[in-house]
Amino acid sequence: MSKIPKVQTKDQKSKTRRRSEDKFAYRTVVISTVLSLIFFAVSLLFNIGIISIFADINLIFDILDILIKVIAILLFFLFMMISIGNYKEMTGKPLGWKELLLLFILSIGQTLLNYIVFISTFIGLLLILVYLYLVQEI
């Protein structure tokens, strides 16, 4: 008599824990997506030149303009990767190299209008990938 209710309680507890973990993971996916889309919008505005408030004033503003463009793309890449990674984990699949490559191409594709932004972003993306690879290995 006493054993059955105990198992049920344990099951209920683990179910509740899993639900709350799923909820937390889903919230992480949503927050990462929202952040990546915000940085995507910033990248769109600056990289296509819809906003060019810092360009062609002086060297400092030029550097600021380039930094905004590069950081926006790198953060877009980072948050989108976190989001897709968590999403994949929730659906029970790992984040594959195909998704990563597509994300890499779509991130670098945003920089085509400025070669300095292109080179800086390329290096930044490689550094992020190397860092994440090393973190996984450890």
């Binding site: 889309l37 819809i50 945003q110």
Partner: protein
Amino acid sequence: MKKISYSILSGIILINLLLVSSLFIIKSYGAAEEIDAKFGEAPIIDGVIDDTADEWKKAFKTQLILTDLPIDLWVMQNNLKLFISVQIDLEVEAHNSTEFIGLLISNSSSENQEDFIDAKIVQFSDMQTDEFVYLDYVINNSLFLNDSIYHGEGAGKLNGKVSVYEFSIPINQPLTDGYEEDALLEYGESYSINITFGKTPLYPEGIIKSEIVLINIFKPSEEEQLLIDVILLVLTIIVFSIVGILSGYYIYKLFKLKEKMERLRS
């Protein structure tokens, strides 16, 4: 839920399109219109626009108002010359038989009166018989003095009710052979050109209408660069559009996942 996802997806695509469409709004510049000379094959300077030979096909074409006179202005260049055509569409009786079009050329992008040092004029002596002269002046303190050697070409012709003026001006000439009396046009520079209209062969007193434009002259290699820039811009817009569309699809998948999670819970 599906409806919401579709609305979000449509919303993202719409925002994307609106942002991209704003790229095609033409930039405007204060007093003078800025014109990028387009590369094209040299036309014959005879006052006739030969459509069968695709003359002026690649020219930058715009409409201007000289004070209150509307004109069509076409600008083109090749590696050696800048070509400008002015067309005035008026009733036949409104044309004056001694009308002229003059290009007063500044030595830079400056619009100060003293910087307009060169004048190329096509002056009709009798428009009905298509008699005209091409004049090349150096401007010194508002005095128009004949150049010792004329450079460039000019021609005019009345075609129906449209008077057509054509000019060609050399680019990148050395400061010899009388070119010191001209505004020297160089690759990669911008020049203010005052397009003037008058009815009597007196300069500058005969000028009754005018408008200044800024013309950018490009190096031959810059033509290819411009094309590459356009291709890169199109590619970038395509990349941003793809990211926008994929993000919309991803958000839709997130909603589906939430639905699935809720279904599993219940």
